[in-house]
Symmetry: D3
Subunit: 296 residues, 6 copies
């Protein structure tokens, strides 16, 4: 089922694996887990297999009583459509200048292309997932970051009631990270930041980023310096000294903020490992980098 | 507020209008009204004003306790993007051959462009509307109509539970008419047909089509033959003798089927009249064509 | 329907009036509005028409989701029956000495004559209204004001649970302002005072007095000095300097106290204007005197 | 407490009485008992003592979990006020011709005088009783019996929802037997008949008439022929042969109809015996006449 | 029914007894009453009659809406089985050394012999009682008192949720006073102490000890010094000066602690009086010793 | 954790096992599974390990949302205590003559010894299990099978409401198979039969017997004739021709009756295999004998 070639398990091995999962199932039942699934993961999957494995993990979490919430972006897919439509993007300080047409394209891709793909992959297992846009029922209220950048937005507030309602009905919300302001204008927002804000607003137990790195490192060049467990304070230091930089910043900042504001744990996992989500949640194996409150 | 220049009302006139609305408010409180809003209406609106007036009507219905559900298509918008992307459409027997890329484009436009516009127009009045795709939580299950046409689908079944859940939470569902099969494959489906199927599945009190005609006529060429009230039987006859033809067929067939299967009344209204929905629902004025069960 | 001769509205005018009402409907849905309806209004109505218009307004408020509560007195009706029964009333300091027979007559008139008339006028529109006496389920607990006056009572406490229960069942309570003490003895109580106390106990959004004046004036003799909006502090001053006096005192004192204790707004309206309640609640027209907390 | 001079009980006697009540308490918990309390009982009570004992019984039934409903008339009280007001009554075939003023007086007395007295007597024990008129929330819909009699009404239908709502809130409804038609016109209705109709509509377990006779007799002149238990069929025969006649007819007809339509048992008790209700309900003593379905 | 030979009551006497009970029924409806029933009472009853009378009292309390909870020990029964099994008990400082086999025997007797007898006696009246062990759903968590004594335990904490759940379902919990630790090991615990701890954890209105003495005395040798009412402070003094000693200590300490921690009243009653529980709860007769907070 | 020495799983193997369980988890969530645990299994376990493994399986089923119910007997334990107490058992036609003392001993062992052991083993994982006797709240009503056998009972009826209440509260009922009649007399009943009757009364999805055989065979002497799947009809034939005989009869008869009366599947498993319950429920491996309705 998982697509891997493995030696088949004996009954005793099977029992062991199931019992290894027991304490995690009991700990997380009824708890909300926000998972950020990147557009890269989706784009990099030549045939949808990675998405299918991810969907299995989400469905298993749901089946044992957790409340998974999927948050996604779609940068590569937006760029691809822009190119097809002959739009050229201007950048200022590394941020894309987003005019009205660009934000409409971004919304179209996120809400109309990436989101339905994830919903469909989950719903192969039953009518479980529901696509949600940040504009639905006022979920994500945004404001412009900088007049020169156009419709690039920051999160002003999160009204998670639509997500909570869906969770109460035992559904799996899949959230496209579009924000809107009071006039109904859409904004493009960093999906990593949105995932953290939603985890906070929901009082989630876990916030998980699926990335294309093995985890954070204490020394960038040293694979052996992989950080297994860390705290917001250490991460602040690593960002301050430049060890953590670039595209990891929004993820790590969100982990730090979320854990400081009540989210139980945040994780940076290697989304390239098949079923990494399932292994992290249900087994004793240490995977990727885990951020917890310092007091533990 | 409505954008029309009118002689201002006296208090007595105001009281009369409000009291004229009273019996309709009382009759329809708690009842579901499915409104099909066409892609044409949206496309024809140069500046969004028509959409804004429509949104006001939906919000007023909601405010007095009705449960409006908006169903929409987006044919012109799909064609426009196809053209921009250089896709040429082949037609067979008047139906567009829909390959995998075409259905993905259709989904992207309906779910990611038209739907968010309608949601945004309503949510100017508060966090009321929620976009729903037919693929969410198994809402619209579809099957291919004809192997030669590719991903053109017929409605196999409607599972309205996600819509009912949103209505129970006092939200306004806005439904993009994409269907999906058990494998998660998307299908393009006639939006008029979907609107009727959803009205039936919800046991709606009213099914309303906003069109660009004044209403149905008994004699095509005679504006004076406008049909105010009619029955499924008469409509069957008018379709059989060719009086009703072309693009009106799916609408009229859906009205006939819906009224026969328990929907209270179906209406074909002229969406070009400002606030036509509000006038139909809350005033004694006769507007467009109303279909009711013959026994009344 | 309203009994007024008016130029008939055009559809555009109708739409405008309905949309003018929209923000008020949305603001007040689910909110409690306590309306004091005077015995004078009822007595002055030669043919019940005023009562019928009033009932329409109450039913419209109810239809759009507000929770109206009617509180009434019946001084003229009590006096009329006393006269027919040959009872002569003694006054001390302007207050009627109320012996046991007088309070029984008062109760009989309020609970058995005036209250059923109002209930009947509302229930022409459906089984909506329920008559409530202040003695039901301990609603109004009273104590004697002055031993010399007999059974003239002050409100000791209000137990609004019976009213809340009826409101929760979507019914319209019509309250006769009789109080009772722990022994079951009835007391005659000023209806204006009771209306204010009930509005406070219910946490009402609005308290409305229907009177036979246009509103309060800053200069008694100057119709142009009509007060459109005022605050408890200004009203205190106007009572202190004698501008407000006589029968208006209990109404104004109750407005002041209610607004200071959490009622959103209090209104003194001219009950002689047809549908004045409806105009005040659902239109932008300024009517009568409105009391709000000074901080707005 | 009961006002009787009795030899004081020993502890053992007390235990016996309480345990004798146990099976009745368990049988009737949660069950509805409709008690018709006559205007005669109230009028005959020189000092309210009988009413006070009756109120104790109702409160005890309520305290152990039954759902008592009191229904009352007030013929003697209506006549007394008519006399004081100088109204002369015309009779036709033994029925009072009821003009508009007469029915207003009847309503005023029943709703405004008798009903509050009973409510007050019960509420000495706490905020338990709520007065209800047959016009409240459409409880008793009436139609004229005979055009020549004016506003003498027959019960057209009973809508018990307001009574059920009060019972669900653990309150004790006290019902004045005024009916009303769709226009809001009041009617005077036989209170015995109303009691039976309400018991049926509520699916009551018991219907109890408190009268001023010891019970029904098989031979009118023979006190020893008191009927302890009987069936609808036997009562039909006794009415057919004239053994039961006059004012007992509406009571007996109501008992017969109620038991045939699902009310568990109907009782005709001697309301002159102190605490007769309590003795009937909670003890093994046989009191008055009990009507049950023939099949037992 | 009660098994006593009494002069039969007159109807008036019966009414008096029932009405004497009324205020107590109203005061205690919905309130929890914890009753400690001793193993001695059960053992001393040659033919089960005492248990049967006790069960009647519990069922009557339940029937009128109270929530009785029975807590029992079983010392004599444990000793009897130990003797039959040839086990000899060693005592240290008056406490039985409890090895693993002894605690298993104790659990077997309490849970498997005494508890089912009480449950059965109650369930003669209907499916009301449910046996509960302190090990069920973590009800009583215990820790060893003293390593030398083996499995003699002290109450560490009470988790009353299982008892509350049964009470919410209108059942009568009968609790065997076995505790357990996190490993599942059982402990023998003083039943008097457990009864007090459970009353506290439930926020009971009353805690009642059925004993074989008439009540507490201020002077041990003087029957006339029976204490009718007392306070925690006085009881502290009587324990300090040795007036209260021996087996009464755990009972009195529990009464003192319970009343100080929110239990309304605690009672020490003479369980040898037939229906003593019923007399205490439902009559004005003063029985045994009542402990209340000093402030009354 | 399971106590078995196994080669440790790779992450990929772990993922496979968890995903193999997914469809079973989804199929059985919210479903009731009745598991008969034999006294033999408990008695044969020298150190409680088998019980501990069984408890893990039950807790895992509970953790993923199933509703397990444990039913147990305790024949060997009863015999052991009888021997210690010097009681000699008489047998007639293979059934033990059960006098009053014997049934008291049986109840004491089942309710007070075996039941608490199972409850304790489960509650090591949290406050999940609650011991229930068949006498609690009228769960198992019994009648004597044969006057000569004394208190050997047959199941007259099952009132599962106490079990359903505990399941609704997310607890795990552990049922001792003692029945009782209306007088409270206890009866010893075949535990296999009780398990089937309870599964039927609960409308269970599964009924599982843990035995000390590998499964049923078509030919007694041929291990290769193990029956993997069968139907009630085939089992009737195998009982008729004597292939199935002896102590298996009550189990097989109960399986047949349960499946015919709506229980989804019945299983006869080898309780000697560690975690056999878990392997049967969560893996694709075929274990023991499964009985299903013939129509599949």
């Amino acid at each position: 089922m998982s697509g891997n070639i493995v030696t088949s398990s004996t009954p005793a091995l099977k029992a062991d694996v199931l019992l290894e999962a027991l304490p995690y199932i009991r700990r997380f039942v009824g708890r909300t887990v926000v998972v950020k699934y990147g557009g890269n993961a989706l784009a990099g999957s030549s045939d949808g297999d990675a998405l299918s494995l991810f969907a299995q993990d989400i469905v298993l979490m749901h089946a044992v009583g957790m409340k998974p919430v999927v948050v996604h972006g779609g940068g590569p897919q937006i760029s691809a459509l822009m190119t097809r439509l002959g739009k050229v993007t201007e950048f200022r300080n590394g941020l894309r200048v987003t005019d009205a047409e660009t934000v409409d394209i971004a919304r179209m891709v996120l809400v109309g292309q990436v989101n339905p793909q994830i919903v469909a992959a989950i719903n192969v297992h039953g009518p479980l997932a529901v696509g949600v846009s940040g504009a639905d029922a006022g979920l994500i209220v945004a404001a412009p970051r900088d007049a020169d950048l156009g419709f690039v937005g920051d999160v002003t507030s999160v009204n998670p009631s639509i997500v909570n309602r869906l969770l109460n009905e035992d559904l799996i919300p899949v959230i496209a990270t579009i924000g809107s302001d009071a006039s109904g204008q859409a904004y493009n927002i960093n999906a990593d930041t949105v995932a953290g804000a939603i985890a906070e607003a929901l009082g989630a137990e876990k916030l998980v980023y699926l990335t294309d790195i093995e985890g954070l490192r204490r020394v960038v060049s040293d694979a052996a310096s992989l950080i297994r467990q860390t705290t917001p304070d250490e991460l602040d230091a690593l960002m301050a000294d430049g060890t953590i930089a670039g595209g990891m910043i929004p993820k790590v900042e969100s982990c730090v903020k979320a854990v400081r504001n009540g989210v139980g744990r945040a994780h940076i996992l290697d989304g390239r490992i098949p079923h990494v989500l399932l292994l992290e949640v249900f087994t004793d194996d240490g995977i990727g980098t885990m951020v917890h409150g310092g007091g533990e």
